[in-house]
Subunit: 339 residues, 2 copies
DNA sequence: CTGAAAGCGCTTACAG
DNA sequence: CTGAAAGCGCTTACAG
């Protein structure tokens, strides 16, 4: 009959007839352990099914073995892809990944920052996904002493992986302008805490500038990264009486929603309105959505790797690095010359 | 100058002029602490920014404060929704949620079971998402001593929340049969470790049985829960020379893929082929996909609640409960009478 | 109500 | 190479 309680190092010591510290050393393959002892200990530990209780090992300094991924929301396509890719890398490096979704809610976000001090006890590092931070928040993050890396952020004092969001948005907008459109609407995520929005809007604006056009406030509408939000935003735009000939959505899911709303209002794409998104979601090909493709899983995996490296040499001073991955304009059937 | 090292209970004791155990009690709001002491301790702790180091508190028995969600994959729609809904509930109950994706890979799955003993040290419980378990795995799960709850599983010795998958598949199939189709193809996830497949296939078969039809092996093809897998599966079916007049896909994403493949092969939906899925994905309305709607976030949240309750009274013997949520057939434009 | 003492499971100097 | 002792930060009986 096996004991109902978990085996302790004490049990292994007794069974192997060795001292508790010899067992400790043997199990961790430290020097100064004879081969015979090594074997005795291994045997006893196996028989008892003994595993060192992580929490008891140097409770004071100790690493937790966990890393947190924090995302503005976890349900949209971008985040689900990035999270799984990152989880794979972290897992392979021996870390548990704890998932923290801010659920697009300000209250949850505040809660996160309020709890940061506690969180710092429970994880060794943070992987931030496109979080739009105010200076105070950056400071709080740095002060908590955790290793940090991020995806899709700008000017942060830690390693970051992203695309050139400004350029990507410029590409999309430029494509529309090149097709003769000048009444451009934007589905922007400006009221959401998504860090990629700022550079994307900048890119949109720059493209207009280059054509001596200005951003029309009535044609800017907020949409979260989901189909429903995109639909709602486009419907609002139409109900408002706006009549753009082309729309740039900050992500493909919002673009899908826009297509839906346009159809509901009897507007034909691309005949009446051209639509372009960003991401290259797996549905985009099927729907013929023009878009700017970005490597999502790669960004998550890359940033996760940087975080792990950071944790490996935590002593050496570190110069934050910023890595930009390529994007590619994909012209499909939702964009067409203005006529 | 604040000390660079984290404050310990010792520091709080010194600063407040009280003993270490009084501090411990005060901080946890235990009885037998005078109000004055309570205040002194609170003040000192605040000044020092002291937080009890979780790892040092009863390292032996201790709860970890973490719960793991394990999913066959984390990228598909169903899982992303269920995971976020569950994460919210777990978070509100004070747990960190560690995410474990099996990434649709057998090697990762085996790794998970091999590591179960270690995992049991790092979390207090498991929320299993539609995992298709062999008896040995169920036994291993029970043996690891963790609290467990699940979504979308059958006959498991722990709390489970699901839909009536057999009935849902029956509804979808019955809908097709009622439309006069009898050459039915199924995109099944039979080679994937998804627990919902078994009852769904049963429901499919039962509907055929009721119409004195039999399942044609050539019309059964495997597809994972993704658009690409659905497309590949449907393309394979067509390439194989099969010519079903209707297809039932085990989830909407696979159905989207099927629509894509059908179009690539010049087949028109629903004129030549009817297609029905399952889920009611946000894109389904837009695409006019007929489907069987199921409440996904609700299942995740419900199961998470059951797990938390389980953890609350871990002493009392527990009769596993099984909860079935409602589904609803939604007829749209991808299904039509055979002609 | 309060604190000295022992203990949780493990690790780290330090003697031998 | 090996083990007795002290220690990690916190909690839990147990005296007072």
């Amino acid at each position: 009959m096996v004991s109902t309680h978990r085996a302790t190092i004490q049990d292994v010591a007794v069974l192997s007839g060795l001292s508790i510290c010899t067992v400790s050393r043997a199990l961790r393959h430290l020097p100064n352990v004879s081969e015979r002892e090594q074997e005795q200990v291994a045997g006893a530990a196996a028989k008892l099914g003994y595993k060192a209780l992580a929490a008891a090992s140097r409770p004071e300094g100790g690493r937790t073995g966990s890393l947190a991924i924090v995302a503005p929301t976890a349900t949209s396509w971008f985040f689900a892809q990035a999270v799984e890719a990152a989880e794979e890398v972290l897992g392979d490096s021996g870390y548990d990944t704890v998932l923290i979704s801010l659920r697009n809610q300000d209250s949850v976000r505040r809660q996160f920052f309020a709890d940061l001090g506690n969180l710092a006890q429970r994880v060794d590092g943070l992987l931030l996904l496109t979080m739009d931070l105010v200076p105070g928040e950056v400071a709080a993050l740095e002060a908590c002493g955790l290793a940090i890396a991020s995806v899709g952020m700008e000017n942060v004092p830690w390693d970051n992986v992203a695309i050139d969001d400004e350029h990507a948005a410029w590409q999309a907008t430029q494509h529309l302008l090149g097709l003769g459109h000048w009444d451009l609407a934007v589905l922007s995520s400006n009221e959401h805490p998504v860090a990629t929005e700022t550079p994307r809007f900048r890119g949109f604006k720059r493209a207009l500038d280059e054509h001596h056009l200005t951003v029309h406030p009535d044609l800017v509408v907020c949409a979260g990264p989901s189909i429903d939000d995109g639909r709602r935003a486009m419907a609002e735009l139409i109900a408002r009486g706006a009549s753009p000939t082309a729309v740039f959505a900050h992500c493909d899911e919002a673009a899908f929603g826009a297509l839906k709303a346009l159809r509901e209002y009897g507007l034909s794409v691309p005949k009446n309105v051209s639509v372009i998104g960003m991401d290259n979601h797996p549905m985009s090909g099927f729907l013929g959505l023009s878009t700017v493709a970005q490597p999502v899983a790669d960004q998550g995996a890359f940033a996760a790797n940087l975080l792990c490296e950071r944790l490996l040499n935590t002593e050496t001073p570190h110069q934050p690095s910023n890595h930009l991955l390529d994007t590619k304009l994909i012209e499909r059937k939702t964009t067409r010359h203005k006529r």
